[in-house]
Amino acid sequence: MIEFQAVTKRYPDGTVAVDSLDLTVEDGRITVFVGPSGCGKTTSLRMINRMIDPTSGTILLNGKDIRESDPPLLRRGIGYVIQHAGLFPHRTVLDNVATVPLLSGVDKRTARSRAAELMELVGLPSTMAKRYPAQLSGGQQQRVGVARALAADPPVLLMDEPFSAVDPIVRDDLQQQLLRLQSELDKTIVFVTHDIDEAIKLGDRVAVFRVGGRLAQYDSPSALLAKPADDFVSSFVGRDRGYRALGFLTATGIPVGEVATVRAGDAPERAREALVDGWAVVVDEQNRPLGWVSADLLSTMDKSVDTEALVSGGSLFEVDSSAGGTAGSLRNALDAALSSPAAVGIAVDGTGAVVGGVTADTVLSALADARSSGEVPG
């Protein structure tokens, strides 16, 4: 557990980076510090491993004042991941990861085999062990950074905007992996970002900072979206917060209706009979969706339903099913409906097979139900 008690950081020029911060970071959770630049989130993070010392106030790590610890020793017990990874350019990937165990006096062989395990854990092929950081992509470098931070198996991990310098697809990948790692490792993670979406996606608890280093709100992501403490938080959380809040409501039990399907290769005349409201989903042999076909489109096909000419479908909504899939959220369901050309979202099971359709109206009434049952604070 990390406790900030009335922590203030004031620089000699009078700037206040952090203003009497009181906050408790729970063990085994991901706590995200989020806010605009200059809000003191990174300063707060760096005070935990004494990269910066507070002007006043106390920080306790597991009940012990961190000022009583020797900074290098304290830091060896706290993993640290930064933007651009900060890898040592002159060391191989393996030696980068082995740095902390070596510093702590572990022999070279043990340190390297530990490093190899960690590379595997973060999804790096062992063929990369002998490479230098400059030979890796940004995403791979960031994985090495995470592996290096985890090498000494520290209970606490500090992450300072670790994913903000990679492209959105890679970022999504790294975020998923962090969540997967965390489900296995149960570290106490403090994560700094300026991206509220990232905060909501990753955080068990989110601390929103405002400029001047004051804590504006410290809450669970869903509470943050549903009940912003003030105008600053609500504007920071953004205009789409109502929509994003749907992401925290599971769609389990939402009624899935019928959806018209035709098989790829069917004769156009047969397909025409199957249309509902002028649209049908074209599926393959395994019943997986390939796209949509309309009455207009069918009139241009003479022999069979041509998969090349289909209107691409919107996002898919995965319902909980015996096939082992994970249930989507109301946000997934609504997005599937809104992004579909036929205004019907395609619901699929864990294998990707079409099981039905869902409309925006269905989602909205499910939301209304959730409100009246008190599941969502109205």
Binding site: H84, P89, S104, Y132, Q135, S137, G145
Partner: protein
């Protein structure tokens, strides 16, 4: 000018040439080594404190500007050495090496990316070990580049010492000139150039061997 078939002269004087070469290397290389050792802490100070940089870098520029013959002549005045003391040549060479390297070392250390330094600190390095195992190795390519210039310059500058009676291959140059012996002159010049370029090549090679990561960047980006 007297241009004989060189072998007879060479054969007669092989011992003297070998001795002059050895002396030349001692005169030229020792100061470079000493200069290197001194310039690392100075360069570190210049990279770290604005004041140190504000003093050291311009001072290095001024010292580097002073012609070698002038510096060689003035060392006895400053240090009280005898006029033909080898130190009169070695001290200026060490000064030139330091003047060249202080700036290189300081620039190289300042060029180490901030996030690498932050990462090293956060990992739990103590300052001295961090300097020796992270910052200094990353500065090595630039230091080697400066060192190559320093060594090659020192090899040719050492010859100037002969003008005030300090030995080495420069002695063969002045002797060859006074005796109108072209062979002696050419032998001395060729030896200086060849040895200098040889050492330069060795340093280049050594630099490549100890900094394998500098050639890694252009590799595959998977």
């Amino acid at each position: 000018m007297n241009i004989d078939w060189p072998w007879p002269w060479l054969e007669r004087n092989l011992d003297d040439i070998a001795e002059a070469t050895g002396q030349h290397l001692y005169l030229a290389l020792l100061p470079v080594l000493v200069g290197l050792v001194i310039s690392v802490p100075l360069g570190w100070a210049a990279s770290r404190w604005r004041l140190a940089r504000g003093i050291l870098v311009p001072l290095a520029g001024v010292l580097y500007t002073i012609p070698s013959l002038a510096l060689i002549t003035l060392v006895p005045l400053a240090l009280g050495t005898k006029i033909i003391d080898p130190l009169n040549v070695q001290v200026p060479l060490a000064i030139y090496t330091i003047a060249l390297l202080v700036r290189s070392v300081s620039d190289a250390l300042r060029a180490v990316p901030g996030d690498v330094i932050a990462a090293a600190t956060a990992i739990g390095y103590r300052p001295v070990r961090q300097f020796l195992s992270v910052e200094l190795p990353l500065a090595v390519p630039v230091i080697i580049a400066g060192l190559r210039v320093a060594v090659v310059s020192a090899m040719s500058l050492t010859a100037v010492g002969a003008l005030v009676g300090i030995g080495g291959l420069g002695q063969l140059i002045t002797e060859g000139f006074l005796r109108n012996n072209g062979v002696e002159l050419v032998v001395a010049i060729v030896l200086i150039v060849v040895i200098a370029l040889l050492i330069d090549a060795l340093l280049l090679l050594a630099g490549r061997v100890i900094t394998p990561w500098t050639r890694a960047g252009r590799g595959v980006k998977a």
